[in-house]
Every structure is written in structure tokens, then in C-alpha cells.
């Protein structure tokens, strides 16, 4: 047998063995599945989803609202920023969000802060899907209004009259919001928040958390 055959077999055993071991003993398969294949990278598709900012009751995947959302709705609206570690559009939007809420945090952080926003209470969540808890991760498809699976995604959850009861409702916006100017992006997000607060102030007295 020639020397090259020995080299080929040694290389194959080494490389395929290491690949197989990675698949079997690490979570790389799940990481690739969740991070790249299942979450749409909006900068990869070079497009931003267009979303109507109407507040709706029906969740993105038909599941119930998350418990942490229902509970917090008793005291104020909820703003969630979903992102992932490597996401150019998320990096573009991050300074705008931090500036609006006057917060500072790292992108890898998954944080919750109670914010006083112009006299109104806002429950602020920064959820990095690469470091999120199961409950936070599961909330992503619930608020993915248009089933875009894309990050960044910005969600405002409030309460609204639902032909009888007062129920949680939400709206979502994606990517760089289809807007080039940073100032206009800021105004867009502020409008989203203000609309949520307005609805909340009109309806919160009728909201009951079970």
C-alpha cells in the first residue's frame, strides 16, 4: 500500500472521527439548528419584514402568552427586544433601543429591567436567543406576529378590550424596520411604545391576571 493511502486513511479517521464525536458529544447540532437554520438572519436575506403595527390578540403560534408576560401586565406594558449573538441588523438597532430606555447592557446579556418611561411603567426585556432560558426562547414564536422567524424582533405587549374581557394584545416589528435613518427608527419604536401605553391606560383596570 502506498504512503498516500496511509495518509488518506489516517486523515479520514481523524477528521470524520472528530466530526462524529462533535455530533455525538456536543450540542453543536442543536446550536446550528436553532441559531442558523431555524432563525432567519434578516441581514442574510437583505430584507426587512413589513409589519402592520396593529395590536392583535392571536399569538404567532397560537400558544398562550408566557406567564412572565401575563404577570407583568398587571403593572405596565412589556417591551421585548429579541436578538442573537451574530446579527448585523441587531447591532444596528441596539443603540436606538438603549437610548430610548436609557439603559446599558452587553448584547450577550439577557436582562429584565423595570423602566420608568415618561411616567409609565415599562417591563423591559432584552432576550438574546443564544443565551436565553427555555421560557424566554419559547416566547419568541408566540410574539412572532407574522411568522418571520427573524431577528431582531421588537415586541410591545399591552391590554385591550376584547369584546367583553380585557385581554393581552401585542404588536411586533422586525429588523431595521425598513427605515434607513436612525432618527426615524427611533421615532418608529417610540410610536410603538406610546401606542401600547395609551391602550394600557385605557384598559388596565379591567385586566385580571389568573
Amino acid at each position: 500500500m502506498k504512503k498516500i493511502a496511509a495518509v488518506q486513511i489516517a486523515l479520514l479517521v481523524l477528521v470524520a472521527g472528530a466530526g462524529g464525536a462533535m455530533l455525538m458529544y456536543t450540542d453543536v447540532y442543536d446550536n446550528i439548528h436553532d441559531t442558523i437554520v431555524s432563525t432567519l438572519c434578516l441581514s442574510c436575506i437583505k430584507l426587512d419584514p413589513v409589519s402592520s403595527l396593529e395590536f392583535i390578540f392571536e399569538t404567532g403560534n397560537g400558544e398562550e402568552h408566557s406567564d412572565f408576560v401575563l404577570e407583568n401586565l398587571t403593572t405596565g406594558i412589556i417591551f421585548i427586544e429579541y436578538r442573537s449573538d451574530v446579527c448585523t441588523a441587531c447591532d444596528i438597532m441596539a443603540p436606538t433601543i438603549k437610548d430610548i430606555f436609557d439603559l446599558s447592557f452587553e448584547k450577550e446579556d439577557t436582562i429584565y429591567k423595570l423602566v420608568d418611561y415618561n411616567g409609565s411603567t415599562v417591563h423591559f426585556y432584552h432576550i438574546n436567543l443564544d443565551h436565553a432560558t427555555k421560557i424566554q426562547e419559547d416566547s419568541f414564536p408566540i410574539y412572532d406576529k407574522d411568522n418571520r422567524r427573524g431577528v431582531p424582533m421588537f415586541v410591545v405587549i399591552t391590554v385591550k378590550y376584547n369584546r367583553g374581557p380585557i385581554d393581552p394584545c401585542y404588536t411586533a416589528a422586525y429588523g431595521t424596520l425598513g427605515i434607513d435613518s436612525e432618527e426615524e427608527r427611533r421615532d418608529f419604536v417610540i410610536d410603538m411604545i406610546n401606542d401600547g401605553i395609551k391602550l394600557y391606560e385605557q384598559n388596565y383596570e379591567g385586566y385580571k391576571y389568573h
Binding site: 439548528h33 437554520v37 442574510c44 437583505k46
Partner: protein, 279 residues
Amino acid sequence: MILRFKRLISQFFFLFLTNLNFKIGDVFSGVKTGLCYPFFYCHACPSASAACPLRAIEIGVYNGKWNWKFILYPLLIIGTVGILTGRAICGWACPIGLLQRGTAKVPQKLKKKYPVIKKIGQHKIEPYLRYIKYIVFISLVIITPIFIGFMFTDICPVGYLVGTIPISVFNPGGFTPNSFFYIALVVFILFLVLIFTIERGWCRYFCPIGAMFAPFNKVSMLHVHVNKDECVHCNLCANACPMGIDVPNMNRDPECILCGKCIEACPKDAISYERWRYK
């Protein structure tokens, strides 16, 4: 069966496997895996069933936060396939290879009609242009994601072709261009110009995944062998080669995609696939 038909069947079979994430009512809900493609295809395609290896590497090196799992995993997949088959994956499986197979008639005709194009292809600088793909891989897939956060996949023409265009078509009014759209559009137009003027132009000069596979041709178990004793140097093989290789003088050429066109063209049967045969 003639080699070219076998290759066509193989290319369509892999195109099908690549796009397994489609739905047929309640019967089939699509397949999404945690694998990386061992060729060029974008996970942003609505029917894509695996991840682009370049994206995985970019995530692994992004901003200098070395996530070795994301770097090693695609490299090991490509390494395994590369050791087994060399760049045969480019010729027999890659959907972008299939696309360029479809466009090949145009550059072939242009070459006959305008001798200047043929001359450019034979210019002494041409072999050096093939190093561009290594530069693209190292600079745009590794260096810029580390230092400035700019990634090849943000302007990738293949992502534009199989991701941006189908998503726009299937969701009319559902999406609007973002800041990468117009840069990517320019790159995509240049990509089209390239594949319509130079046969396998993308594979020859720019494909970063081809750059990863190329060194494996030197050690791969499958390769194209030229029997130099029987070769009469008629150059029919070199003329048939879509990668522009000097086939009679090649020995495990890193550019060879093992498409087999030279094997079919050789009147003396002096060229053959060689696998697991060590004399």
C-alpha cells in the same frame, strides 16, 4: 450510462436534498437539520434544510469571540467529504455548480465568437486570479467578521439568489429592502455577469467553499488520473474542461471538480477516475 447524465441526475438529487424543507399539506411538513451543507447554499432559502458552512464559521469568529464549535463543525464536515471525494462535490452536488452548468453554453459561445475572451482565459495572469477565492475566504469570512463585524453572507450573491429573490416573490409586499440590499444587488449582478461570461467563473475565482475544498484534491481518495504514457496531447480534454485546467499535465490539480468531461472527451481513454487503487 453516459457520465454527463449520471452527473445531472446526481446534481438534481442533491438539489432536492438541499431543499427538503418544503411542505405538502399535512403529509410532509419539511425537514430542518442542524447540519452544514458541504457546498454553497444559503440557509435563508425558504426550503433550505441545513446551514451555510460560511455562516457557521462567521458566527464562530465574529468579533474575535472564538466559538470553536461553530468553526470546527463545518470544517470537519467539509474535511470528511474532501478527503473522500476531493472537489467532486463541486461538480456532482453543488446547486450553484448546477446553475453554472445551465449557463455554460453562453460563455462557450462567447469564447468562439469573441477570440478576445479566449485570450483573456489563456493570459499568463489567469492562474493567479484563482487565488482570489482564497483571499475572499480569508478576508471576508474570517478577518472582517473578527475585526469590523462585516460578514460575507451579508452581501453573498447566492443568498440573494436563493434567499432574497424567492422570499420577495412568495411574500409580495411582505418585505422591504434593508441597508445590505443594494450592495448585495450589485454583487449579484456581477455574479450573473461572471457566470454568463466565464464558464464556472464563480467556482474558478470566487467560491470560498471551493477554496476550502481545493487543498483536499491533493489527498482525496477519489481523483482524476491521466495516463501520461497513453496521452497523445491532442488537448481535447483541456478544451472540454470547464475549469480551464491543462488536463494532460495535471496531477491532482486543486482546481479539478472531477466532473468527468475530460474523461468523456479523451479519444484514447487515457483519463479515468481513480479510487482506492494503489499500484
